[in-house]
Amino acid sequence: MLDTEKYRIAVIGAGPAGRAAALSAATLGVSVDWYDKQDRAGGKLNEYHQLFPHRVKPETLLSGFRESELPAGIKKHFGIAVNRIETEQAQVILLSDNKVVGGADAVIVATGFDFFDARLKEEFGYGMYKQVITSADLEQILKTNPSALKKNGADPASIAFVHCVGSRDQQIGIGYCSRLCCITGIKQAIEVKELYPSASVVNFYIDIRAFGTGYEELYREAQEKYRIRFIRGRVSEASENQQYNIVLKAEDTLMARPLKLTVDWLVLLVGMVPSCTQVELDNKKGVDGETGFYDLADPLTGSRISGQEGVFSAGACNGPMSIPEAIASGRSAAMEAFNYIHSR
């Protein structure tokens, strides 16, 4: 048996994937250095209202991030933004703004994703029109102050969701599908409808990609129970009228006719893009040129980043991923990092 405790694995990122990786590595007996640019653990989980498709509160997950829940082998280094990794003689060196902040035998990068900057799709007027918000904004509103959706004290009469904003769009150079915006839109539409039952809620979609367990069921529930309308066609233009409502133009592709709709709120279901604080790797390799996410050496079975030694990645920094997928990916990266150290 190896004396595993003397080996160190660094985990960058304290979201669901990072936590799963850190916990799993600690369970395997390795010493873990856990980094995050923020002062607290949880990453984007802290900003969510409810998690799809079962609509549990993120707090139920976040409780597992508490200090008391962590094993002794994990050492936290929060508030440090590791943004560069170098490898030297089979050792990984972590740098923050060119200062060395630590080292390890292997590193698991779990830096997650950012929401697409909706201002780039300027035709939706995000950042110009007050009534145009993103799904991330709506999540915040639902979490902290749902009555912010009221207009002049009255319940909102109509809310439209646009799917695929910053996803599957060659115009902005994003060829991939963010996968999770569909179910987010379905979930948020239901939440809004529950809050304001009299509101007419419309989702404009290209395809509904309800791929996960329970997603299709939630989609159907949205249609049948909540009477949320799904119009196949993407909004391509939004403007403001005198009452500061948003006038949408889309095509109902099933009817092959253009349509116009005025809504109180336009919610842009923004896609997932690589985190802007993504860690730079040796030789600048390991990043997919098309998507900007990490490129895995063996995308079918592995977590090692291509062109790197001892550098693994977990979660949505590899591409759009749901929370359970990110957690599974974190665990598997820990196992792989552990095996890597042993086989050295």
Partner: protein
Amino acid sequence: MGLKKNFGFDIHSGRQIDLDRVDKALADELSELVGAWSACINCGSCVATCPAAQNGMYNFRMLHYQIRMRVETDYDPSLPYIMQRRVETDNNLSLPYISLEHCLLCGKCQLVCPRGIPTRYLAIQIMQKTRQHAEGIPSV
């Protein structure tokens, strides 16, 4: 006003659907009666198996979708046969009703619908409710 000057061309309202101005009454009433209707995903299974659709007169999916979208289906150049039907008719019934006259009510569509929508009942209800709406009969 009265006299309109003829410039040799027509000003048309265009094909844009104005969802702000549609009449919701019929669609809402039918949604209450046939709850599963709103779960339609426009897969087209119903039309694929429909004997009347093979006869070339009728597209049930498009028809009920138009009603669900609360779109007034009067003149629609993309559906030439419906246009012809419109020309033929001189009563005040709306197009779904006229087009639905081709339905054989055989119920095959119901057997193939992946969302379990009672489509045959939907057809019957559309027939009834459109007539009631056309005749101004308040529904029970």
